[in-house]
Amino acid sequence: SQQGEEDPQALSIQEGENATMNCSYKTSINNLQWYRQNSGRGLVHLILIRSNEREKHSGRLRVTLDTSKKSSSLLITASRAADTASYFCASLGNTDKLIFGTGTRLQVFP
């Protein structure tokens, strides 16, 4: 399967703690994107990092990219109960086709 993998599969934390999710992909990329999916809803784009970038910030989100290891991580700082959702990385290669990972289910307890 071309699908990337995410680690951990599930993560439970308390409000205020940080959450870190890792993603590995299989082919060379143009960019890597992170999406959030609330239960029963569609995916919402969070952040995009290009292959020549190593780190990017957006609000409480921090994304890193290591193209030599074909991996990325998403850090959510000071988590809130509203951050409870599934998070997916998606790699974009030369074919303009997004390949999604298997996702991390994040549960933030108030």
């Binding site: 990337g4 029963g40 995916l43 919402v44 997004l98």
Partner: protein, 114 residues
């Protein structure tokens, strides 16, 4: 701006029946995608349109699935006949003309095959 609209939200059918899903992308978005998301997995691309032409349908099971995008706007995805393994959420997404831009997703159609 209005988001990607999909209908119906839920559909229950028996195996071997047919079903159709409808998608209206964000106005002005040239690229439209249909994804299949099986429970517990990430979305898998079924077909990608650029305006009303097919860009990629390599993972579309063409013996039973078909899709069209008339006039380069709305799109329909059809399954005929349905199999038990087709139980999934079918997501539609759209993006602007530029390659690699973020995709905007609808809330999907949850299909259950009995």
């Amino acid at each position: 701006e209005a988001g990607v609209a999909q209908s119906p939200r839920y559909k229950i059918i028996e195996k071997r029946q047919s079903v159709a899903f409808w998608c209206n992308p964000i106005s002005g978005h040239a690229t439209l995608y249909w994804y299949q998301q099986i429970l517990g997995q990430g979305p898998k691309l079924l077909i990608q349109f650029q305006n009303n032409g097919v860009v990629d349908d390599s993972q579309l099971p063409k013996d039973r699935f078909s899709a069209e995008r008339l006039k380069g706007v709305d799109s329909t995805l059809k399954i005929q006949p349905a199999k038990l393994e087709d139980s999934a959420v079918y997501l539609c997404a759209s993006s602007s003309q530029r390659v690699g831009q973020p995709q905007h997703f609808g809330d999907g159609t949850r299909l259950s095959i009995l």
